[in-house]
Amino acid sequence: MDSNKVDMFMLTNSKFFESHQLYSIRERLVQMDDSKWGMLQSIQFKDPTLSIIVSILAGFWGIDRFIIGDTGLGVAKLLTCGGLGIWVVVDWFLIMSATRQKNFSLIQQVLF
């Protein structure tokens, strides 16, 4: 794929991924066929900033886990009153990384 296009994509979407994943994503995108561009554009990445805000405000109901797609964990968090409050606090530190990991899994489905 055209490197300008790739750079543009990386510039707008880098916040959705862990910094150590960026290099491999870029490499893959350069090698990728142009026909996959449309599919790549249609992926809806989850915003890590939004998930941390939701985690702080509604972590006790597990909404943060629901929005990143961890439905099973969301239900578990909801039923245990946020893991007796411990899980809620742990998730304040984990949720951004978990969101980025989810985004990486999403982009991997197109890239690999």
Partner: protein, 137 residues
């Protein structure tokens, strides 16, 4: 969330240990005076959360009072059931080197991605929540 099976088993095991510790704190004569409500929602708004009363339900179950347990919160039954089944399952997987629990979790999560099942489940939890508010837990 779980990039590896080991990490999944570690967190689930830790959750069970905390769950048992929490129940023990309520049973122990020494520690029970130090435990109270951990529900921030209830502390802030005065309104119970969907899982409020689960600990009391579990304690009632341990005394064999089934009806009382359901009256407190039916979620307590599932939590105690989980606390009894999950550790044995984890040990089984650990010793037989299988991943049956992890596979089951993944298939349950896949089923929950079905909007109808999820909405039905959330509706049940919501109704239970309304009941909690009505009971004034």
């Amino acid at each position: 969330m779980f990039h590896s099976k080991e990490r999944f088993y570690f967190f689930i095991g830790l959750g069970c240990v905390i769950g048992y510790g929490w129940i023990y704190m309520h049973i122990s004569t020494l520690l029970s005076k130090y435990v109270g409500s951990v529900c921030v929602i209830k502390k802030i708004s005065g309104m119970p959360c969907p899982s409020c009363g689960s600990t009391r339900a579990i304690l009632a179950l341990l005394h064999g009072e089934w009806a009382q347990a359901i009256a407190w919160n039916p979620i307590g039954l599932f939590l105690l059931g989980g606390l009894m089944v999950i550790p044995s399952w984890l040990f089984f997987d650990l010793f037989s080197k299988s991943s049956s629990f992890f596979d089951t979790y993944l298939s349950v999560e896949q089923k929950l991605k079905n909007k109808r099942i999820l909405i039905l489940l959330l509706l049940l939890i919501g109704m239970n929540w309304i009941w909690n508010i009505y009971k004034g837990l």
